[in-house]
């Protein structure tokens, strides 16, 4: 990986169409950057990937990769897929079933002299840890091995952009974790822009530098996974980012000295981080990540407990992989609940369980305000 990415090596994508799938997106991906297109089914993420690869021609589009025009509908120019230097890893890998692993990779090496193709393909197999499997046929490989062959074949063309279409969806959980690690290690060596399509938020958070959240063919928000999760621009984004704690409130005032914004929620007043862009008395939506909800220790109350304290009954209690996810009912009449996650040992030490009354604190820095919209329950 070069130390300083060269902006000339970036890819710029702008696509618009009404039918059959509405699209209105503008994207850039820098060299060495891994951008994740995230969104629910039907949001248009795979269509965007196919348009970049030249497998789909949207009504209006402008795609420039490493200063080479791939599509410009104004000039009615469209470079077909086989003339774009694209590495695409398909969801089901799409290996050629009648060819050996080595042959599969060699198909993408047509631009290098014939006598070097064999050794080059072997080098690529080594890169994806598949030495010794060169004469096997795809059907004799495991899902994880097939995915590695697909990655090696995608890299064989020395692509100007690497595209990955839900590459981990066809493998089991254990293999998936292994492949995540491999991709993270591999991407450090790659200098081209990389775009991954996924509907798995955890996957995108783990792998991507930036995520573009898509909904109905539009990008709702683009940014680092952390910033999109913590600072969604709308309640819809928050919902698509799997935020469970989304509520409506009214702005009470802004404290310029303490750098806090106070909001009126249910019959309480909550202190939030300073967000003066919202006017006093304005109706807003607000959200808090469950990681910013603190549990009051029953045995040893602390000063932190005074920050937006709330009490409620645990009405849902689920243990999974060392974590406990709970729903705490704050207001029975309005059925207002707050989701909270704590490590299993913390839950055990505090004797938590279903129907227990517990105290929680909402960290003011974690309370994020958004423009008002009616919430679906």
């Amino acid at each position: 990986m070069s130390d300083k990415p060269n902006p000339d090596l970036a890819i710029h994508i702008s696509l618009q169409q009404q039918r059959p799938i509405p699209l209105d997106v503008q994207l850039d991906c820098q060299p060495s950057e891994l951008l994740a297109l995230v969104g629910p089914s039907g949001s248009g993420k795979t269509t965007i990937l196919r348009a970049i690869a030249g497998l789909y021609q949207p009504e209006n589009g402008r795609i420039i990769c490493q200063n080479e025009v791939w599509q410009n509908s104004v000039q009615q120019f469209f470079l077909p897929a086989h003339r774009r230097h694209v590495g695409l890893v398909f969801q089901n890998y799409a290996l050629f079933p009648h060819m050996t692993v080595l042959n599969n990779i060699q198909q993408a090496l047509s631009e290098i002299p014939k006598q070097h193709r064999h050794s080059h393909a072997l080098d690529l197999l080594k890169k994806v840890h598949l030495e010794g499997l060169d004469h096997r046929y795809p059907k004799t490989l495991s899902g994880g091995q097939q995915q590695r062959v697909a990655v090696a074949r995608a890299l064989a063309r020395n692509p100007k952009v690497l595209l990955l279409d839900e590459p981990f969806s066809a493998v089991d959980q254990v293999t998936r974790r292994k492949l995540y690690r491999e991709l993270l290690a591999l991407r450090k060596k790659l200098a081209m822009p990389m775009i991954i399509v996924t509907h798995d938020l955890e996957e995108s958070t783990l792998l991507a530098d930036r995520i573009a959240l898509l909904h109905k063919g539009q990008i709702l928000q683009i940014g680092t996974p952390k910033s999109v999760s913590a600072h969604p621009v709308t309640a819809t984004v928050a919902r698509l980012m799997d935020q469970q704690n989304i509520f409506t409130a009214q702005v009470l005032d802004h404290d310029l000295t303490a750098k806090k914004t106070r909001i009126h929620w249910l019959d309480r007043i909550l202190e939030a981080s300073f967000q003066p862009q919202f006017k006093i008395n304005e109706k807003v939506c607000w959200t808090i990540q469950s990681a910013n909800v603190l549990l009051h220790r029953r045995d040893r109350p602390s000063n932190g407990d005074k920050e937006n304290p709330l009490h409620g009954k645990v009405i849902e209690y689920m243990e999974s992989s060392g974590l406990v996810n709970m729903l705490v009912q704050i207001d029975k009449e309005l059925n207002t609940t707050i989701a909270i996650s704590v490590p299993l040992h913390v839950s055990k030490r505090n004797g938590l369980g279903l129907n227990e009354i517990i105290g929680i604190s909402l960290l003011s820095e974690g309370i994020h305000l958004m423009p008002y919209q009616a919430l679906r329950r």
Binding site: L55, H82, A94, A108, Y137, K139
Partner: protein, 222 residues
């Protein structure tokens, strides 16, 4: 055994295959991958010989190529040839009659190649011609071979259309099926039964071969 008639039948089958192979690949692939207006009408027309009595098809071909009118008259005037009661006419009739037997299995064979495999080939930098040659044809090959074998066997045994379009001219249009009929008319039952048995055995071999081929290709790649 009427070796001359058998030879003519084999020749007719081979010439038919020579023309049907590219026609079948072109239309089979086209129908498998493209959506266009009137596709279902075209598919109906192409499937028509499956249900149409061969004599009806033969009758219309005779009318179309009759040297006294329309296309037949024009062909006769321009090229000094006609397509009735000669080998060339038999070839044309045989190609038309075999269209569904060639196109339908090839269409199925091309359809069964997943779209992403063809797209992956394009992303590897292969031109459409390369994709056809290196990916589609090898994967569709069992379907293409079985279509060809079926057409060969079908042409070898065809009777009605051959009799109507070609007549019964020894060494020109008398195929083995017509020769069997001819021998029966002449009460030469021994010759008729030898030829019938040969055709029966050949047909059984053909069917076994196509089943074997399709099973083998399934085992190989799936």
């Amino acid at each position: 055994m009427d070796w001359q008639a058998l030879g003519l039948s084999v020749k007719l089958s081979l010439v038919t295959l020579f023309f049907l192979l590219p026609i079948g690949i072109f239309f089979g692939r086209w129908l498998a991958y493209r959506q266009f207006l009137g596709k279902s009408i075209l598919q109906t027309l192409l499937a028509l010989p499956l249900v149409l009595p061969p004599t009806v098809l033969g009758y219309y071909l005779l009318v179309i190529f009759s040297p006294n009118q329309g296309l037949g008259l024009w062909l006769n005037k321009t090229f000094g040839t006609t397509f009735v009661f000669n080998f060339e006419g038999l070839v044309i009739a045989s190609i038309i009659f075999n269209l569904p037997f060639a196109i339908q299995p090839m269409q199925r064979a091309f359809s069964s190649i997943p779209r992403d495999i063809r797209e992956a080939a394009a992303c590897c930098g292969m031109s459409p011609a390369h994709v056809l040659w290196k990916i589609e044809l090898p994967l569709a090959w069992p379907g293409i071979i079985s279509a060809m074998v079926m057409c060969f066997a079908h042409t070898l045994g065809e009777f009605g259309i051959v009799l109507i379009v070609g007549g019964n001219i020894p060494a020109e249009t008398q195929t083995i099926a017509i020769s069997i009929y001819d021998r029966m008319q002449a009460f030469d039952n021994q010759s008729a039964s030898i030829m019938s048995l040969s055709l029966l055995l050949f047909s059984m071999l053909t069917i076994s071969f196509t089943y074997w081929l399709s099973e083998r290709s399934q085992k190989k790649h799936v």
